[in-house]
Subunit: 456 residues, 2 copies
């Protein structure tokens, strides 16, 4: 292939990998492919050079970050995989302006550590943050466990640098909170999963670090009581709830089986909630405040079990229970995994109806839920009791259908990738799909950027 020769001339053999040296599956193992090659440019200019060559040759290009996606967004059959891993510099860091400018290949945990000690945090928090990269979380508009407090990745991004399909570099590297200079191209590129351009760098917003946390694991009988508690704690702390995570009994059972050291410290309740509040005000005691807010539910027996972390180590252990989710989910590879969101008041009804529908399709199926409950966001997984792709497709369709019927979204924070394109075709507004296709055609007329992803 002449394009491979050109790339080798530009970058050397070490950065153009082919055959078995190039990745051929994602981390879940659910998606497999044979790429043309993996190329590793080292700068934005080099990414642009790759895109100019690919554009000329009409070669498909799949941008790759930390390989932690769940929907096959980096599957790359016959395509050039463009890894951003060498774009791993922190360009500027301004604690006083509370911004950090970093390249796409910087790992999320590197950002966390970089700002530690300056009284700041980069808020994004989720299990894969030790591998996921800034470019990846921007391209999928990732969420995580504290969206309730700090928003999605979109809300944390002030500026972007993007290489377009033909190699032009678009500079939206702005560090301002207010900027109305034409169309919002930044938010168009965020969440586009590399189909409209390749994000090479970004200016990210930092937040004041809480000076103290209160972290509790609570056992409760039902979701309604948990949602009422969420409202009460939000009101009683002035919106200081950092996380409100739901781990049902079945999740705790699987956790105890796969990761016994992370087993629930009490006999799991039907509804187990990881609740964290925080304060940025020196001298305030969020633990005392949380205890006061929990007291009525404890006395009334609405909260049946409660553990409040007494140290950072205990806090870390409670979080480890939650952050093991992806790992314990994918230990059984024959599964239907989804990522949906619902209006909060529809959640209990969804859980009940969905269990009945799954049971009707396959009485031996097992359901595993883990939810960012405060955002209405459930990772709903089914392990079929009977195997076969047709049943799994039916389950997937039923989950999407039930979600949309209750005013929810069939893709909350993991993106569309390959796995939800058919759901897009079935449930997304048809005019919106036409507009997306028109934009895709305008920005990538040859259709070389992450082909077959997002758009059905």
């Amino acid at each position: 292939m002449p394009i491979l020769d050109d790339l080798r001339t530009l970058f050397g053999d070490a950065h153009v990998l082919t055959g078995d040296d190039a990745p051929q599956r994602d981390w879940t193992g659910l998606y497999r492919w044979r790429p043309l090659a993996l190329v590793r440019p080292g700068t934005t200019g080099e990414v642009a050079a790759v895109m100019r060559l690919a554009h000329e040759a009409g070669a498909p290009v799949v941008p790759v970050g930390g390989n932690t996606g769940l929907n096959g967004g980096t599957s790359a059959e016959g395509a050039l995989m463009l890894s951003l891993e060498r774009l791993n510099r922190i360009r500027t860091y301004s604690p006083s302006a509370r911004t950090i400018t970093a390249e796409a290949g910087v790992v999320v945990d590197v950002l966390h550590r970089h700002v530690e000690g300056a009284g700041l945090i980069f808020p994004l928090r989720f299990g894969a943050s030790g591998s996921a990269t800034l470019g990846g979380v921007l391209s999928t508009n990732a969420g995580g466990a504290n969206v309730l407090r700090y928003g999605m990745v979109r809300d944390l991004c002030l500026g972007l640098e993007v290489v377009l399909a033909d190699g032009r570099v678009m500079n939206l590297m702005n560090a301002l909170h207010k900027d109305n200079t034409g169309y919002d191209l930044r938010d168009l590129m965020i969440g586009a999963e590399g189909t409209l351009g390749i994000i090479t760098g970004a200016v990210m917003r930092l937040e004041p670090a809480p000076v103290a946390h209160a972290t509790a694991l609570l056992g409760m009988a039902d979701l309604e009581a948990a949602l009422a508690l969420l409202n009460r704690v939000q009101a009683g702390t002035g919106g200081a709830v950092e996380a409100f995570e739901f781990m049902p009994e079945a999740y705790m059972a699987r956790l105890a089986r796969v990761k016994p050291d992370l087993a629930c410290p009490f006999a799991p309740s039907p509804v187990n909630i990881l609740l964290e509040t925080a304060t940025t005000i020196t001298g305030e005691d969020p633990v005392a405040r949380l205890e006061t807010l929990l007291l009525p539910d404890l006395e009334a027996g609405v909260i049946t079990e409660a553990v409040i972390a007494q140290s950072q180590a205990q806090r870390a252990k409670l979080w480890a229970m939650r952050e093991a989710a992806a790992e314990i989910t994918f230990t059984t590879p024959d599964l239907v995994d989804t990522d949906i969101s619902l209006p909060l008041d529809r959640l209990p009804g969804f859980v009940e109806r969905m269990a009945a529908r799954i049971g009707a399709l396959d009485p031996a199926a097992e359901i595993l839920m883990i939810a960012h409950l405060g955002d209405g966001n459930i990772h709903y997984t089914v392990y079929p009791g009977t195997s076969g792709p047709a049943l799994k497709a039916e389950m997937r369709a039923a989950i999407a259908e039930q979600t949309v019927a209750l005013g929810g979204s069939f893709s909350a924070e993991h993106g569309v990738g390959l796995s939800k394109r058919q759901t897009m075709a079935r449930h997304k507004d048809p005019v919106a799909l036409e507009v997306m296709r028109a934009i895709k055609a305008a920005l990538d007329p040859k259709g070389i950027l992450n082909p077959d992803k997002v758009l059905p």
Copy 2:
């Protein structure tokens, strides 16, 4: 014109106004035009019908809201003005989900009043809220006085309904906080000033109403001290600063002249700050907390004057001083008005350098600033001492140039409209402009939607 006959057939003469019955200027009087007609459809379906006719005829269409824009965004020479005023229904209101779904013609203050009493607020706050409409504030991504706490209009919007150039209706009416189903078309339409589609309805986010406010007017010697105070009050209240507005001595002087009943209650200082904090926690006393936080600056003489509102009436009066800004600015029509934003640490330097540059251009010029200081957003107005359009153009260019040189934006919250298109050409990233043009051509191939606006 056959299109006028068609429109009259559809809507009746009462809703198709021509000649002097149609608006021929904006409220500032700086922009004047002769429109083809003003048409007033009453539903989304009727807006779509107008657009189908206009698209077929190739007739330019300018959507119009409350006529409070400042950049000529509704100037409509020879165009069909499409008023959204009859789309004024509140479709659904869910206090428990904290959302309200309303049509584009609903006036912002109507939204404020609608949610009063349920412990909720629609946060958007600015002087023109008695006339500005939901469609208008979405189309310009308006800001206002409490962006610091609640964000821009973009941050308050969950879902949109948009009529496209050819009359197709795009339904993005989602009430979810997490939704990653394809490209972010909502944010693309917000702030596009009616050039990509006509917003006909939206789902807006509501926030818990503060149960108590602390509102103070402070006199200080310089901006650096004011910015240090802002940081201290943010840290000491856990980010509960609702507004931090800067009114310099010259603003107070003009206020005393034009609106004597709103004159500053103390001899104006060089820097006068309207500071408001709030709490949603019952029983908390934000006034006591604010007094404690102000004390060190009062004792050190950094704050030289201080008035803290003791009643809602006093609070309203302090706000009236701020909200008279547009009115007192435009009483002298020979002016250069701009709307810029800067990184906070660059603000003092900007103010100093800009004064020198304006003085060099025109020693008799008067400068009037009013700023959402916490957002780095200054409304910078110059009244030339010497008249002539060339000098004004030079001043406008100098302000934009100095802003961009310090890492700022030449359009913070008022949009681009007609008046900043040349600045877009000079200062916006050229690749970003190309991408905007490609999107415009893809969504409005005949160029009929608000022609000549936003894009140079």
